[in-house]
Protein backbone atom coordinates (compact mmCIF):
# COMPACT_ATOMS: atom_id res chain seq x y z
CA UNK A 1 0.00 0.00 0.00
CA UNK A 2 2.76 2.40 1.03
CA UNK A 3 6.35 1.81 0.08
CA UNK A 4 9.14 4.15 1.15
CA UNK A 5 12.17 3.05 -0.84
CA UNK A 6 15.80 3.97 0.03
CA UNK A 7 14.78 7.47 1.02
CA UNK A 8 17.46 9.85 2.24
CA UNK A 9 17.34 13.57 2.86
CA UNK A 10 19.96 15.95 4.22
CA UNK A 11 19.23 19.47 5.46
CA UNK A 12 21.72 22.33 5.04
CA UNK A 13 24.13 20.14 3.16
CA UNK A 14 27.71 21.40 3.12
CA UNK A 15 27.26 23.78 6.04
CA UNK A 16 28.21 23.33 9.71
CA UNK A 17 24.48 22.81 10.39
CA UNK A 18 24.30 19.82 8.08
CA UNK A 19 21.82 17.24 9.32
CA UNK A 20 21.20 13.85 7.81
CA UNK A 21 17.51 13.74 8.66
CA UNK A 22 16.80 10.45 6.92
CA UNK A 23 19.42 7.89 5.92
CA UNK A 24 18.31 5.15 3.60
CA UNK A 25 14.84 4.54 4.99
CA UNK A 26 13.03 1.46 3.72
CA UNK A 27 9.52 0.91 4.92
CA UNK A 28 6.69 -1.06 3.44
CA UNK A 29 3.16 -0.94 4.80
CA UNK A 30 0.70 -3.58 3.71
CA UNK A 31 -3.00 -2.92 3.40
CA UNK A 32 -4.64 -2.60 6.80
CA UNK A 33 -1.40 -2.39 8.72
CA UNK A 34 -1.36 0.07 11.63
CA UNK A 35 2.21 1.13 12.39
CA UNK A 36 3.23 3.23 15.35
CA UNK A 37 6.49 5.18 15.09
CA UNK A 38 8.50 6.20 18.14
CA UNK A 39 11.86 7.85 18.61
CA UNK A 40 13.41 10.77 20.42
CA UNK A 41 13.36 14.35 19.17
CA UNK A 42 15.32 14.71 15.95
CA UNK A 43 15.12 11.00 15.12
CA UNK A 44 13.48 11.79 11.77
CA UNK A 45 9.87 10.85 12.51
CA UNK A 46 8.42 14.15 11.35
CA UNK A 47 10.72 14.27 8.34
CA UNK A 48 9.49 10.82 7.35
CA UNK A 49 5.90 12.01 7.66
CA UNK A 50 6.67 15.09 5.58
CA UNK A 51 8.32 13.01 2.86
CA UNK A 52 5.27 10.75 2.68
CA UNK A 53 2.77 13.62 2.69
CA UNK A 54 4.67 15.55 0.04
CA UNK A 55 5.73 18.45 2.21
CA UNK A 56 9.36 17.51 1.50
CA UNK A 57 10.93 15.95 -1.58
CA UNK A 58 13.61 13.39 -0.64
CA UNK A 59 17.14 13.83 -2.04
CA UNK A 60 17.11 10.25 -3.23
CA UNK A 61 14.65 7.36 -3.07
CA UNK A 62 10.99 6.91 -3.90
CA UNK A 63 7.62 7.07 -2.22
CA UNK A 64 5.08 4.71 -3.71
CA UNK A 65 1.41 4.71 -2.75
CA UNK A 66 -0.89 2.00 -4.15
CA UNK A 67 1.71 1.10 -6.78
CA UNK A 68 1.94 4.69 -7.97
CA UNK A 69 5.21 6.61 -7.71
CA UNK A 70 4.26 9.87 -5.97
CA UNK A 71 7.76 11.06 -5.06
CA UNK A 72 7.52 14.19 -7.21
CA UNK A 73 3.78 14.76 -6.84
CA UNK A 74 3.03 18.07 -5.05
CA UNK A 75 1.42 17.90 -1.65
CA UNK A 76 -2.09 18.89 -2.74
CA UNK A 77 -2.20 16.23 -5.47
CA UNK A 78 -0.94 13.53 -3.17
CA UNK A 79 -3.57 14.46 -0.61
CA UNK A 80 -6.08 12.58 -2.75
CA UNK A 81 -4.52 9.38 -1.36
CA UNK A 82 -3.65 10.55 2.14
CA UNK A 83 -5.73 11.45 5.16
CA UNK A 84 -3.84 13.48 7.73
CA UNK A 85 -4.29 14.61 11.32
CA UNK A 86 -1.80 17.14 12.71
CA UNK A 87 -0.48 17.64 16.21
CA UNK A 88 -2.00 21.11 16.54
CA UNK A 89 -5.80 20.77 16.96
CA UNK A 90 -6.12 24.15 15.19
CA UNK A 91 -4.29 22.91 12.09
CA UNK A 92 -6.76 20.36 10.76
CA UNK A 93 -9.89 22.49 10.47
CA UNK A 94 -10.91 25.93 9.18
CA UNK A 95 -12.02 27.91 12.26
CA UNK A 96 -14.20 30.56 10.60
CA UNK A 97 -16.20 27.94 8.69
CA UNK A 98 -18.98 25.72 9.99
CA UNK A 99 -18.74 22.03 10.87
CA UNK A 100 -20.73 21.05 7.77
CA UNK A 101 -18.56 23.21 5.53
CA UNK A 102 -15.41 21.65 6.96
CA UNK A 103 -16.82 18.19 6.33
CA UNK A 104 -17.83 19.19 2.80
CA UNK A 105 -14.22 20.18 2.10
CA UNK A 106 -12.99 16.85 3.42
CA UNK A 107 -15.64 15.14 1.29
CA UNK A 108 -14.08 16.78 -1.79
CA UNK A 109 -10.59 15.48 -0.97
CA UNK A 110 -11.01 12.55 -3.33
CA UNK A 111 -13.25 14.32 -5.85
CA UNK A 112 -12.80 17.13 -8.33
CA UNK A 113 -14.09 20.37 -6.88
CA UNK A 114 -16.86 21.86 -8.99
CA UNK A 115 -19.14 24.88 -8.97
CA UNK A 116 -21.90 23.00 -7.21
CA UNK A 117 -23.03 23.67 -3.64
CA UNK A 118 -20.68 22.04 -1.14
CA UNK A 119 -23.31 21.32 1.49
CA UNK A 120 -26.37 19.57 0.10
CA UNK A 121 -29.30 17.93 1.89
CA UNK A 122 -28.02 14.51 0.96
CA UNK A 123 -24.51 15.24 2.20
CA UNK A 124 -25.89 16.70 5.43
CA UNK A 125 -27.57 13.40 6.23
CA UNK A 126 -24.30 11.63 5.58
CA UNK A 127 -22.33 14.13 7.69
CA UNK A 128 -24.72 13.73 10.60
CA UNK A 129 -24.35 9.98 10.48
CA UNK A 130 -20.56 10.24 10.60
CA UNK A 131 -20.62 12.86 13.37
CA UNK A 132 -22.86 10.64 15.47
CA UNK A 133 -20.07 8.04 15.63
CA UNK A 134 -17.95 10.56 17.56
CA UNK A 135 -20.48 10.66 20.40
CA UNK A 136 -19.78 14.33 21.04
CA UNK A 137 -23.15 15.75 20.04
CA UNK A 138 -21.58 17.55 17.08
CA UNK A 139 -24.32 16.16 14.81
CA UNK A 140 -26.68 18.76 16.31
CA UNK A 141 -24.25 21.62 15.70
CA UNK A 142 -23.69 21.36 11.94
CA UNK A 143 -23.94 25.14 11.60
CA UNK A 144 -21.57 25.99 14.45
CA UNK A 145 -18.29 27.64 13.50
CA UNK A 146 -15.44 25.22 14.15
CA UNK A 147 -13.48 27.95 15.95
CA UNK A 148 -16.02 27.69 18.77
CA UNK A 149 -15.22 24.01 19.44
CA UNK A 150 -12.79 22.86 22.11
CA UNK A 151 -9.39 21.44 21.18
CA UNK A 152 -10.58 17.88 21.76
CA UNK A 153 -13.70 18.37 19.67
CA UNK A 154 -11.68 19.95 16.88
CA UNK A 155 -9.22 17.07 16.90
CA UNK A 156 -12.05 14.53 16.83
CA UNK A 157 -13.53 16.40 13.86
CA UNK A 158 -10.10 16.45 12.16
CA UNK A 159 -9.84 12.70 12.66
CA UNK A 160 -13.29 12.21 11.16
CA UNK A 161 -12.46 14.50 8.23
CA UNK A 162 -9.27 12.58 7.55
CA UNK A 163 -10.92 9.16 7.64
CA UNK A 164 -14.54 9.15 6.46
CA UNK A 165 -13.49 9.19 2.81
CA UNK A 166 -11.40 6.03 3.29
CA UNK A 167 -7.92 7.31 2.42
CA UNK A 168 -5.34 4.87 1.07
CA UNK A 169 -2.98 5.99 3.82
CA UNK A 170 -3.77 7.63 7.15
CA UNK A 171 -0.97 9.74 8.66
CA UNK A 172 -1.27 10.70 12.32
CA UNK A 173 1.41 13.12 13.46
CA UNK A 174 1.42 13.08 17.29
CA UNK A 175 -2.25 13.92 17.04
CA UNK A 176 -2.95 13.52 20.76
CA UNK A 177 0.18 15.29 22.05
CA UNK A 178 -1.43 18.70 22.47
CA UNK A 179 -4.48 17.45 24.38
CA UNK A 180 -5.11 16.93 28.09
CA UNK A 181 -4.97 13.27 29.25
CA UNK A 182 -8.74 12.74 29.15
CA UNK A 183 -9.11 14.21 25.65
CA UNK A 184 -6.01 12.35 24.49
CA UNK A 185 -7.59 9.09 25.61
CA UNK A 186 -10.82 9.95 23.84
CA UNK A 187 -8.97 10.62 20.59
CA UNK A 188 -6.84 7.49 21.05
CA UNK A 189 -9.97 5.37 21.42
CA UNK A 190 -11.62 7.03 18.45
CA UNK A 191 -8.52 6.39 16.39
CA UNK A 192 -8.58 2.73 17.29
CA UNK A 193 -12.26 2.44 16.44
CA UNK A 194 -12.05 4.31 13.14
CA UNK A 195 -8.95 2.49 11.91
CA UNK A 196 -10.48 -0.89 12.80
CA UNK A 197 -13.80 -0.05 11.17
CA UNK A 198 -12.36 1.04 7.84
CA UNK A 199 -9.29 -1.22 7.95
CA UNK A 200 -7.13 1.84 7.24
CA UNK A 201 -3.44 1.57 6.48
CA UNK A 202 -2.05 3.85 9.15
CA UNK A 203 1.23 5.42 10.16
CA UNK A 204 1.16 7.10 13.56
CA UNK A 205 3.97 9.08 15.12
CA UNK A 206 3.85 9.37 18.90
CA UNK A 207 6.02 10.42 21.79
CA UNK A 208 3.99 8.30 24.15
CA UNK A 209 5.46 4.79 24.41
CA UNK A 210 2.39 3.35 26.08
CA UNK A 211 0.23 4.64 23.24
CA UNK A 212 2.65 3.15 20.71
CA UNK A 213 2.30 -0.22 22.43
CA UNK A 214 -1.47 -0.07 22.88
CA UNK A 215 -2.30 0.93 19.33
CA UNK A 216 -1.56 -0.81 16.06
CA UNK A 217 -0.12 -4.12 15.00
CA UNK A 218 3.41 -3.03 14.21
CA UNK A 219 5.92 -0.75 15.89
CA UNK A 220 9.02 0.89 14.52
CA UNK A 221 11.62 2.87 16.40
CA UNK A 222 13.69 5.53 14.72
CA UNK A 223 16.97 7.09 15.71
CA UNK A 224 19.32 9.43 13.85
CA UNK A 225 17.37 9.15 10.62
CA UNK A 226 17.27 5.37 10.58
CA UNK A 227 14.76 2.70 11.49
CA UNK A 228 16.49 0.78 14.27
CA UNK A 229 13.67 -1.48 15.38
CA UNK A 230 10.73 -3.02 13.56
CA UNK A 231 8.44 -5.32 15.53
CA UNK A 232 5.13 -6.78 14.51
CA UNK A 233 2.62 -9.53 15.17
CA UNK A 234 2.56 -11.39 18.50
CA UNK A 235 5.91 -9.99 19.49
CA UNK A 236 4.45 -6.50 19.38
CA UNK A 237 1.42 -7.53 21.48
CA UNK A 238 3.64 -8.76 24.32
CA UNK A 239 6.04 -5.82 24.22
CA UNK A 240 6.50 -3.59 27.29
CA UNK A 241 8.09 -0.21 27.77
CA UNK A 242 11.00 -1.88 29.60
CA UNK A 243 11.60 -4.14 26.58
CA UNK A 244 11.70 -1.14 24.30
CA UNK A 245 14.17 0.75 26.45
CA UNK A 246 16.41 -2.32 26.79
CA UNK A 247 16.25 -2.93 23.08
CA UNK A 248 17.20 0.64 22.34
CA UNK A 249 20.14 0.48 24.71
CA UNK A 250 21.31 -2.77 23.20
CA UNK A 251 21.21 -1.37 19.66
CA UNK A 252 22.61 2.04 20.37
CA UNK A 253 24.69 1.15 23.38
CA UNK A 254 24.17 4.54 24.93
CA UNK A 255 22.82 5.92 28.12
CA UNK A 256 19.13 6.36 27.53
CA UNK A 257 18.08 8.36 30.55
CA UNK A 258 17.50 11.64 28.79
CA UNK A 259 15.47 9.99 26.05
CA UNK A 260 13.57 8.03 28.61
CA UNK A 261 12.41 11.24 30.16
CA UNK A 262 11.25 12.49 26.78
CA UNK A 263 9.54 9.27 25.76
CA UNK A 264 8.04 8.26 29.11
Amino acid sequence: MLHVKDVAITFNEGTPDEKKALQGINLELHKGEFVTVIGSNGAGKSTLMNVISGNLVPDIGEVIISEKDVTMLPEFKRSAYIGRVFQDPMAGTAPSMTIEENLAMAYSRIRKRKLKPGVTKQRKVEFKEHLRTLNLGLEDRLNAKVGLLSGGERQALSLLMATFTNPNILLLDEHTAALDPARAELITNLTKKVVDEHGLTTLMVTHNMQQALDLGNRLIMMDKGQIILDINGDKKQNLTIEDLLKEFQRIRGEQFESDRAVLG
Partner: protein, 326 residues
Protein backbone atom coordinates in the same frame (compact mmCIF):
# COMPACT_ATOMS: atom_id res chain seq x y z
CA UNK B 1 -29.64 68.01 0.18
CA UNK B 2 -31.97 65.13 -0.62
CA UNK B 3 -30.77 65.26 -4.20
CA UNK B 4 -27.14 65.11 -3.08
CA UNK B 5 -27.91 62.07 -0.95
CA UNK B 6 -29.73 60.49 -3.88
CA UNK B 7 -26.55 60.92 -5.91
CA UNK B 8 -24.56 59.38 -3.07
CA UNK B 9 -26.79 56.31 -3.03
CA UNK B 10 -26.62 56.08 -6.80
CA UNK B 11 -22.83 56.02 -6.96
CA UNK B 12 -22.61 54.06 -3.70
CA UNK B 13 -24.39 51.12 -5.30
CA UNK B 14 -21.89 51.15 -8.17
CA UNK B 15 -18.87 51.43 -5.88
CA UNK B 16 -20.39 48.57 -3.87
CA UNK B 17 -19.34 46.18 -6.65
CA UNK B 18 -15.75 47.34 -6.15
CA UNK B 19 -16.18 46.93 -2.39
CA UNK B 20 -17.42 43.35 -2.89
CA UNK B 21 -14.21 42.67 -4.80
CA UNK B 22 -12.17 44.10 -1.95
CA UNK B 23 -14.18 41.98 0.49
CA UNK B 24 -13.26 38.88 -1.53
CA UNK B 25 -9.52 39.51 -1.26
CA UNK B 26 -9.20 41.21 2.14
CA UNK B 27 -11.70 39.19 4.10
CA UNK B 28 -12.23 35.89 2.30
CA UNK B 29 -8.74 35.24 0.92
CA UNK B 30 -6.89 37.23 3.60
CA UNK B 31 -4.90 38.72 0.73
CA UNK B 32 -4.38 42.51 1.04
CA UNK B 33 -4.59 43.28 -2.66
CA UNK B 34 -3.61 46.79 -3.74
CA UNK B 35 -4.07 46.06 -7.46
CA UNK B 36 -7.49 47.69 -7.04
CA UNK B 37 -6.20 51.26 -7.55
CA UNK B 38 -4.95 50.20 -10.97
CA UNK B 39 -7.59 47.72 -12.07
CA UNK B 40 -10.42 50.18 -11.35
CA UNK B 41 -8.92 52.49 -13.96
CA UNK B 42 -8.23 49.56 -16.28
CA UNK B 43 -11.94 48.77 -16.21
CA UNK B 44 -12.89 52.41 -16.77
CA UNK B 45 -10.28 52.87 -19.49
CA UNK B 46 -11.07 49.71 -21.43
CA UNK B 47 -14.79 50.51 -21.37
CA UNK B 48 -14.30 54.16 -22.33
CA UNK B 49 -11.84 53.63 -25.15
CA UNK B 50 -13.89 50.74 -26.56
CA UNK B 51 -17.12 52.74 -26.48
CA UNK B 52 -15.53 55.80 -28.06
CA UNK B 53 -14.27 53.52 -30.81
CA UNK B 54 -17.77 52.32 -31.55
CA UNK B 55 -17.99 49.10 -29.52
CA UNK B 56 -21.41 48.54 -27.98
CA UNK B 57 -21.47 49.59 -24.30
CA UNK B 58 -22.44 46.11 -23.09
CA UNK B 59 -19.56 44.44 -24.95
CA UNK B 60 -17.20 47.20 -23.79
CA UNK B 61 -18.22 46.57 -20.19
CA UNK B 62 -17.66 42.83 -20.59
CA UNK B 63 -14.20 43.56 -22.02
CA UNK B 64 -13.45 45.69 -18.97
CA UNK B 65 -14.39 42.76 -16.70
CA UNK B 66 -12.01 40.44 -18.57
CA UNK B 67 -9.20 43.01 -18.41
CA UNK B 68 -9.66 43.35 -14.63
CA UNK B 69 -9.68 39.57 -14.25
CA UNK B 70 -6.39 39.26 -16.13
CA UNK B 71 -4.78 42.03 -14.05
CA UNK B 72 -5.86 40.27 -10.85
CA UNK B 73 -4.58 36.91 -12.07
CA UNK B 74 -1.16 38.44 -12.74
CA UNK B 75 -1.04 39.78 -9.17
CA UNK B 76 -2.02 36.32 -7.95
CA UNK B 77 0.68 34.69 -10.06
CA UNK B 78 3.33 37.15 -8.80
CA UNK B 79 2.42 36.11 -5.28
CA UNK B 80 1.99 32.35 -5.71
CA UNK B 81 4.50 31.44 -8.42
CA UNK B 82 6.87 34.38 -7.96
CA UNK B 83 6.71 34.04 -4.16
CA UNK B 84 6.48 37.82 -3.80
CA UNK B 85 4.85 39.15 -0.66
CA UNK B 86 1.12 39.75 -1.17
CA UNK B 87 1.20 43.48 -0.46
CA UNK B 88 4.19 43.98 -2.72
CA UNK B 89 2.71 42.00 -5.63
CA UNK B 90 -0.34 44.26 -5.51
CA UNK B 91 1.76 47.41 -5.35
CA UNK B 92 3.93 46.25 -8.27
CA UNK B 93 0.86 45.49 -10.35
CA UNK B 94 -0.76 48.78 -9.40
CA UNK B 95 2.28 50.74 -10.56
CA UNK B 96 2.60 48.73 -13.77
CA UNK B 97 -1.10 49.24 -14.46
CA UNK B 98 -0.70 53.01 -14.32
CA UNK B 99 1.43 52.85 -17.48
CA UNK B 100 -0.69 50.11 -19.01
CA UNK B 101 -3.82 52.19 -18.45
CA UNK B 102 -2.19 55.17 -20.16
CA UNK B 103 -1.38 52.92 -23.12
CA UNK B 104 -4.93 51.58 -23.21
CA UNK B 105 -6.50 55.02 -23.06
CA UNK B 106 -3.87 56.67 -25.25
CA UNK B 107 -4.31 59.88 -23.24
CA UNK B 108 -4.81 60.71 -19.56
CA UNK B 109 -8.53 61.28 -20.08
CA UNK B 110 -11.09 59.71 -22.39
CA UNK B 111 -14.39 61.52 -22.73
CA UNK B 112 -17.65 59.74 -23.47
CA UNK B 113 -19.52 62.96 -23.98
CA UNK B 114 -21.45 62.12 -27.12
CA UNK B 115 -21.13 58.35 -27.02
CA UNK B 116 -23.85 55.93 -25.96
CA UNK B 117 -23.41 54.24 -22.58
CA UNK B 118 -25.25 51.40 -20.87
CA UNK B 119 -27.18 54.02 -18.94
CA UNK B 120 -28.08 56.20 -21.93
CA UNK B 121 -29.30 53.12 -23.76
CA UNK B 122 -31.40 52.09 -20.77
CA UNK B 123 -32.79 55.57 -20.44
CA UNK B 124 -34.02 55.32 -24.02
CA UNK B 125 -36.20 52.32 -23.25
CA UNK B 126 -37.15 53.49 -19.76
CA UNK B 127 -40.82 54.53 -19.48
CA UNK B 128 -40.99 58.18 -18.41
CA UNK B 129 -43.98 57.41 -16.22
CA UNK B 130 -41.80 55.66 -13.65
CA UNK B 131 -39.56 58.69 -13.22
CA UNK B 132 -42.46 61.09 -12.75
CA UNK B 133 -44.08 58.70 -10.28
CA UNK B 134 -40.98 58.46 -8.05
CA UNK B 135 -40.18 62.13 -8.48
CA UNK B 136 -43.68 62.80 -7.21
CA UNK B 137 -42.85 60.91 -4.03
CA UNK B 138 -39.53 62.70 -3.85
CA UNK B 139 -41.07 66.18 -4.00
CA UNK B 140 -43.86 65.39 -1.56
CA UNK B 141 -41.11 64.39 0.89
CA UNK B 142 -39.99 67.99 0.79
CA UNK B 143 -37.27 68.14 -1.85
CA UNK B 144 -37.47 70.99 -4.33
CA UNK B 145 -35.40 69.38 -7.05
CA UNK B 146 -35.91 65.82 -8.23
CA UNK B 147 -33.33 63.49 -9.79
CA UNK B 148 -33.14 63.44 -13.58
CA UNK B 149 -33.77 59.73 -13.82
CA UNK B 150 -34.32 56.70 -11.63
CA UNK B 151 -33.14 54.24 -14.21
CA UNK B 152 -29.57 54.16 -12.91
CA UNK B 153 -30.59 53.40 -9.35
CA UNK B 154 -32.99 50.64 -10.35
CA UNK B 155 -30.65 49.07 -12.86
CA UNK B 156 -27.71 49.19 -10.45
CA UNK B 157 -29.68 47.69 -7.57
CA UNK B 158 -30.41 44.72 -9.84
CA UNK B 159 -26.82 44.39 -11.08
CA UNK B 160 -25.22 44.79 -7.65
CA UNK B 161 -27.64 42.36 -6.01
CA UNK B 162 -27.03 39.88 -8.83
CA UNK B 163 -23.30 40.09 -8.12
CA UNK B 164 -23.96 39.73 -4.41
CA UNK B 165 -25.99 36.55 -4.98
CA UNK B 166 -23.39 35.24 -7.40
CA UNK B 167 -20.73 35.79 -4.72
CA UNK B 168 -22.87 34.15 -2.02
CA UNK B 169 -23.51 31.13 -4.21
CA UNK B 170 -19.93 30.84 -5.40
CA UNK B 171 -18.54 30.91 -1.86
CA UNK B 172 -20.77 27.97 -0.95
CA UNK B 173 -19.72 25.74 -3.82
CA UNK B 174 -16.96 23.17 -3.43
CA UNK B 175 -14.53 25.55 -5.15
CA UNK B 176 -15.78 28.48 -3.06
CA UNK B 177 -15.39 26.55 0.20
CA UNK B 178 -11.81 25.70 -0.76
CA UNK B 179 -11.22 29.37 -1.58
CA UNK B 180 -12.47 30.45 1.84
CA UNK B 181 -10.37 27.79 3.53
CA UNK B 182 -7.33 29.09 1.64
CA UNK B 183 -7.82 32.36 3.48
CA UNK B 184 -8.57 30.59 6.75
CA UNK B 185 -6.19 27.64 7.00
CA UNK B 186 -3.91 26.93 4.03
CA UNK B 187 -2.21 23.93 5.60
CA UNK B 188 -5.52 22.22 6.15
CA UNK B 189 -7.03 22.76 2.72
CA UNK B 190 -3.80 21.64 1.05
CA UNK B 191 -4.03 18.41 3.01
CA UNK B 192 -7.54 18.10 1.55
CA UNK B 193 -6.12 18.13 -2.00
CA UNK B 194 -6.88 21.73 -2.97
CA UNK B 195 -4.41 23.68 -5.08
CA UNK B 196 -4.13 26.85 -2.99
CA UNK B 197 -1.99 28.63 -5.60
CA UNK B 198 -4.67 28.31 -8.27
CA UNK B 199 -7.38 29.31 -5.80
CA UNK B 200 -5.52 32.49 -4.88
CA UNK B 201 -5.05 33.38 -8.56
CA UNK B 202 -8.73 32.70 -9.22
CA UNK B 203 -9.88 34.68 -6.17
CA UNK B 204 -7.74 37.74 -6.86
CA UNK B 205 -8.81 37.54 -10.51
CA UNK B 206 -12.53 37.52 -9.69
CA UNK B 207 -12.03 40.31 -7.19
CA UNK B 208 -10.36 42.56 -9.76
CA UNK B 209 -12.95 41.65 -12.38
CA UNK B 210 -15.55 43.11 -10.02
CA UNK B 211 -13.40 46.19 -9.42
CA UNK B 212 -12.99 46.71 -13.16
CA UNK B 213 -16.74 46.34 -13.70
CA UNK B 214 -17.30 49.00 -11.09
CA UNK B 215 -14.77 51.24 -12.85
CA UNK B 216 -16.40 50.68 -16.23
CA UNK B 217 -19.81 51.68 -14.86
CA UNK B 218 -18.46 54.75 -13.05
CA UNK B 219 -16.81 55.87 -16.30
CA UNK B 220 -20.13 55.50 -18.13
CA UNK B 221 -22.13 57.31 -15.51
CA UNK B 222 -19.60 60.14 -15.24
CA UNK B 223 -19.00 60.35 -18.97
CA UNK B 224 -15.23 60.01 -18.81
CA UNK B 225 -12.31 57.83 -17.73
CA UNK B 226 -9.29 59.42 -16.11
CA UNK B 227 -5.96 57.75 -15.46
CA UNK B 228 -5.88 59.01 -11.87
CA UNK B 229 -9.49 58.14 -10.96
CA UNK B 230 -8.32 55.01 -9.10
CA UNK B 231 -6.11 56.72 -6.54
CA UNK B 232 -7.17 55.68 -3.05
CA UNK B 233 -9.77 53.29 -4.41
CA UNK B 234 -8.48 50.47 -2.20
CA UNK B 235 -8.99 52.62 0.90
CA UNK B 236 -12.54 53.42 -0.21
CA UNK B 237 -13.15 49.70 -0.69
CA UNK B 238 -11.73 48.93 2.74
CA UNK B 239 -13.78 51.73 4.30
CA UNK B 240 -16.94 50.22 2.79
CA UNK B 241 -16.09 46.74 4.07
CA UNK B 242 -15.22 47.92 7.57
CA UNK B 243 -18.17 50.33 7.91
CA UNK B 244 -20.53 47.67 6.57
CA UNK B 245 -19.30 45.01 8.95
CA UNK B 246 -19.45 47.40 11.90
CA UNK B 247 -23.00 48.53 11.10
CA UNK B 248 -24.64 45.42 9.73
CA UNK B 249 -22.57 42.48 11.01
CA UNK B 250 -20.81 39.61 9.29
CA UNK B 251 -22.29 36.50 10.79
CA UNK B 252 -22.85 34.66 7.53
CA UNK B 253 -21.58 35.21 4.00
CA UNK B 254 -24.98 36.51 2.88
CA UNK B 255 -25.06 39.06 5.71
CA UNK B 256 -21.45 40.09 5.15
CA UNK B 257 -21.95 40.76 1.44
CA UNK B 258 -25.11 42.81 1.94
CA UNK B 259 -23.27 44.65 4.74
CA UNK B 260 -20.47 45.53 2.32
CA UNK B 261 -23.01 46.99 -0.12
CA UNK B 262 -24.60 48.94 2.74
CA UNK B 263 -21.16 50.08 3.84
CA UNK B 264 -20.35 51.40 0.37
CA UNK B 265 -23.58 53.42 0.30
CA UNK B 266 -23.13 54.75 3.83
CA UNK B 267 -19.57 55.72 2.98
CA UNK B 268 -20.74 57.80 -0.01
CA UNK B 269 -23.38 59.47 2.13
CA UNK B 270 -20.88 60.32 4.86
CA UNK B 271 -18.49 61.83 2.31
CA UNK B 272 -21.33 63.81 0.69
CA UNK B 273 -22.38 65.20 4.05
CA UNK B 274 -18.80 65.92 5.07
CA UNK B 275 -18.17 67.91 1.90
CA UNK B 276 -21.10 70.14 2.73
CA UNK B 277 -19.30 71.34 5.85
CA UNK B 278 -18.02 74.86 5.13
CA UNK B 279 -14.32 74.44 5.87
CA UNK B 280 -13.90 71.24 3.81
CA UNK B 281 -13.13 71.24 0.09
CA UNK B 282 -13.38 68.61 -2.65
CA UNK B 283 -9.63 68.07 -2.43
CA UNK B 284 -10.02 66.97 1.19
CA UNK B 285 -11.93 63.86 0.14
CA UNK B 286 -8.98 61.48 0.44
CA UNK B 287 -8.23 62.79 3.89
CA UNK B 288 -11.87 62.36 4.90
CA UNK B 289 -11.76 58.79 3.59
CA UNK B 290 -8.62 58.00 5.55
CA UNK B 291 -10.20 59.56 8.63
CA UNK B 292 -13.38 57.48 8.25
CA UNK B 293 -11.34 54.29 8.02
CA UNK B 294 -9.34 55.28 11.10
CA UNK B 295 -12.48 55.96 13.10
CA UNK B 296 -14.14 52.75 11.90
CA UNK B 297 -11.07 50.77 12.97
CA UNK B 298 -10.37 52.48 16.28
CA UNK B 299 -13.86 53.31 17.59
CA UNK B 300 -15.14 49.74 18.12
CA UNK B 301 -12.10 48.94 20.28
CA UNK B 302 -12.49 52.03 22.43
CA UNK B 303 -16.19 51.32 22.90
CA UNK B 304 -15.45 47.71 23.89
CA UNK B 305 -12.69 48.75 26.31
CA UNK B 306 -15.04 51.26 27.96
CA UNK B 307 -17.75 48.63 28.31
CA UNK B 308 -15.29 46.21 29.92
CA UNK B 309 -14.04 48.86 32.30
CA UNK B 310 -17.56 49.82 33.31
CA UNK B 311 -18.43 46.18 33.92
CA UNK B 312 -15.33 45.66 36.10
CA UNK B 313 -15.99 48.80 38.11
CA UNK B 314 -19.59 47.72 38.71
CA UNK B 315 -18.52 44.31 39.93
CA UNK B 316 -15.94 45.81 42.25
CA UNK B 317 -18.39 48.33 43.59
CA UNK B 318 -20.95 45.59 44.22
CA UNK B 319 -18.34 43.50 46.04
CA UNK B 320 -17.25 46.47 48.17
CA UNK B 321 -20.88 47.16 49.04
CA UNK B 322 -21.33 43.55 50.11
CA UNK B 323 -18.30 43.67 52.40
CA UNK B 324 -19.48 46.88 54.01
CA UNK B 325 -22.88 45.37 54.67
CA UNK B 326 -21.28 42.35 56.39
Amino acid sequence: MALALFGAVESGIIYAIMALGVYLTFRVLDFPDLTVDGSFVTGAGVAAISISNGVSPVIATLMAIVAGFIAGCITGLLHTKGKINALLSGILMMIALYSINLRIMDSPTVSLHNSPTIFSQLRDIWPAGIDSFFNGIFTTLGSERAPATWVIVFFMIIVTLAIKFFTDYFLKTDVGLALRATGDNKKMIRSLSANTDNLIVLGVGISNAMVALSGALIAQIGGFADVSMGIGMIVIGLASVIIGEALFGKKTIAIATIAVIGGAIVYRMVVTLALRVDFLETGDMKMITAFIVMVALIAPRIIQARKDKKRRLQKRAALAGLKEGA
